[in-house]
């Protein structure tokens, strides 16, 4: 990426920004995270015949498509940081920091972190994005959040404020339809699904696991057999298929319950961790 290139603006889809703000408002304290997305060249298309000297530089636009955050300002201490970045569908384009009731300008830690992030060759981030989220000092204000987006120029070492363009539904944004798949990544936990043994999931891109999963779910019911639904044997097969569906729904219900229970346990663990941290700090 050319370091001399200055971003024209930063785009973010409404749902992604809303999700980011929600994470911020529900976090118990300050937090930070990574921003994923892409940087695209937008060649200006002069519609008029006016031969005015339009600049030859294509407009650079950064698009934030997703983010990852851990519920604490410790994202960069995460041991799986590199795995997280390499497994993302979109490349890393920057990071964000959320801190309540603070001035809307980069702090000492944020400047140092951005500088080291942009100078690290493994990330290829010569123009690192940085989004800062804060809340106003007074509680009684109508707006509850403030945010500002910056482009960090490693050539000058300065943060340049950029407009954050929120892409929403509506006629003005018709061109953007389809260009966004808002998603927020599931926190990268070293998890194991019982009966699946996912340790090899990463290496073979999950093909073996996917086959295994199919076997568990459809109980050997081959898709090819679906054609038996037509014709004389249909009645028997319908009953068989309905039973299969019934079993699948039961399994789904069971799975949902397990997920719910594990979330509750996770929450409990998080509360316990917080208590431990408070104990260390001498506040009960």
């Amino acid at each position: 990426m050319d370091d001399l290139s200055s971003l024209h603006k930063i785009q973010i889809s409404g749902p992604t920004l809303a999700s980011l703000l929600h994470r911020f408002s529900s976090a118990p304290a300050d937090f930070d995270g990574l921003l994923f997305g892409r940087i695209s060249h937008l060649t200006p298309s002069p519609l008029s015949d006016d031969p005015s000297p339009s600049d030859d530089h294509p407009t650079l636009i950064a698009t934030v498509t997703s983010f990852f955050s851990s519920p604490s300002p410790t994202t960069f201490h995460s041991p799986s940081l590199h795995h997280l970045i390499s497994s993302s569908p979109d490349p890393l384009i920057g990071w964000f920091s959320g801190r309540r009731k603070t001035p809307l300008r980069p702090s000492m830690r944020e400047s140092s972190l951005t500088l080291s992030l942009s100078s690290d060759p493994t990330f290829n981030l010569t123009n690192c994005l940085f989004i800062l989220l804060t809340t106003p000092f007074q509680d009684q204000l109508i707006h509850t959040h403030e945010y500002k987006a910056f482009q960090f120029r490693s050539s000058t070492g300065l943060f340049e404020p950029k407009t954050l363009d929120v892409v929403n539904l509506g006629p003005a944004f018709r061109g953007h339809y389809g260009s966004f798949t808002p998603n927020s990544r599931f926190p990268d936990l070293p998890f194991e699904v019982k009966g699946l043994g996912s340790e090899s999931m990463v290496e073979d891109e999950g093909k073996v696991e996917s086959d295994k999963f199919g076997l568990v779910c459809d109980e050997g019911f081959n898709v090819g057999r679906l054609k038996s639904l037509m014709g004389s044997e249909a009645a028997g097969y319908t009953a068989e298929l309905e039973e299969l569906y019934g079993n699948m729904i039961k399994k789904m219900n069971g799975l949902a319950r397990v997920v719910e229970q594990s979330s509750a346990r996770l929450l409990e663990q998080e509360k316990h961790n917080m208590k431990l941290r408070c104990k260390v700090a001498g506040i009960e």
Partner: protein, 378 residues
């Protein structure tokens, strides 16, 4: 500010900073950054710098008390990067944030001090980059002086200026006054403000000059009454400072020796009045004696000006027998008495005698006044 809602780890570090710093650092405000506002974990520090204050926000995280604090500098100091991150593979220099130990109460003090000295170097660099011939010359000639702080003031709606705080006089003022109780080192500074002109002018205007001292020094020496020597055309700081320091030094020596003159006067007062009830032993600016006329007993308060004996002391009488019935039973006092016989040329024993003689009659007037007040109160 409720002390119990500050997490103890933060409180001990903050208290250590406020009590142990050689500069008088203040906390402007303190607030909470957690969702339920339970703990105060962020505050604004006012740090003395270049005869002014810089405001830095120190951001702790009550939920993660083991993490070091973050600092947000002023809006003008966007380019101040105290701890530049080293490139991959480089050995990073240690600073006060490395190996942060939250249980060590001295850590915040060390951090703020390191940041302040880095900030000093940063401002010095900024001032050095200003393209002004005269400024460059002044900096080069003043270079040998130690402890100069400088500050580059620039903003959207402010004129560009460079401020210097030049510490004057190498002598230790604390040691000059015997038995002084000053906790901080007393110092006098010359504040010099240069407007940045960016082009060479043959007739550069005089810089704005102001003498500033540490506030407690006024018990000994009044900076407001010192007349700065005039700034001649085409002068530079290196020429101006020696004259100024010479004048200042002789006046301070006078101020110190005048303590002895005041002490002698107080001692002389003890002959007609007896031992003082209370007297300021360090600067000898105040003394109180007990006196009586018949059965009427009263206190005599003396307040000695810095210009003593050129200026006479202020005398106030206070009855020990008459009290205001309202306003909290305060004892009745006289107005400041100044029409007593006085000449700076008398020797101290004569001064004391004349005041004593004057008070023999004046105390009867005061007694009458006290009785009148009591009658009015009935």
């Amino acid at each position: 500010m409720a002390v119990d809602s500050i997490p103890p780890i933060i409180l001990t570090q903050l208290n250590y900073l406020l009590t142990h710093s050689p500069y008088s650092i203040k906390v402007e405000q303190m607030w909470s950054g957690s969702k339920n506002h339970a703990y105060l974990d962020r505050f604004t520090l006012l740090i003395p710098f270049c005869l002014d204050y810089i405001k830095w926000d120190v951001i702790y995280n009550a939920q993660f008390p083991l993490l070091p604090p973050d600092v947000i500098f002023g809006p003008e100091d966007e380019t101040f990067r105290p701890f530049p991150a080293g490139r991959e593979g480089e050995i990073k220099a240690k600073n006060s944030l490395s190996d942060w130990n939250c249980k060590d109460p001295t850590r915040l003090l060390l951090l703020i001090h390191e940041l302040r000295s880095l900030y000093m170097a940063y401002q010095k660099k900024r001032v050095g980059e200003v393209d002004d011939e005269r400024l460059k010359f002044e900096i080069n000639t003043m270079y040998s002086r130690e402890g100069i702080e400088m500050y580059m003031s620039s903003g959207v709606d402010k004129p560009e200026e460079v401020k210097f705080a030049v510490p004057l006089l190498e002598m230790d003022l604390n040691k000059m006054v015997a038995g002084s109780t000053w906790r901080h080192q007393q110092k006098i500074y010359l504040q010099v403000i240069y407007p940045v002109s960016r082009k060479y002018l043959a007739m550069a205007s005089a810089p704005r000059l102001k003498l500033i001292s540490s506030p407690e020094l006024k018990a000994l020496f009044s900076i407001d009454e010192f007349r700065l020597p005039s700034w001649l055309e085409g002068m530079c700081m290196a020429e101006y400072l020696p004259t100024l320091e010479e004048m200042l030094e002789s006046q301070i020596r006078d101020a110190v020796s005048s303590i002895e003159v005041r002490r002698k006067f107080i001692t002389a007062l003890a002959i007609p009045f007896g031992r003082p009830l209370e007297a300021d032993p360090v600067f000898c600016r105040k003394a109180t004696f007990l006196a009586c006329s018949g059965v009427f007993t009263f206190l005599v308060h003396f307040t000695l000006p810095l210009q003593f004996p050129r200026q006479q002391p202020a005398v106030v009488l206070q009855s020990s027998q008459h009290f205001h019935s309202h306003s909290g039973n305060a004892p009745i006092k006289s107005a400041i008495l100044q029409d007593y016989p006085w000449s700076p040329r008398w020797d101290v024993s004569q001064m004391a005698e004349r005041i004593s003689d004057y008070l023999v009659d004046e105390c009867l007037n005061f007694k009458k006044h006290c009785n009148e007040v009591l009658v009015q109160q009935r």
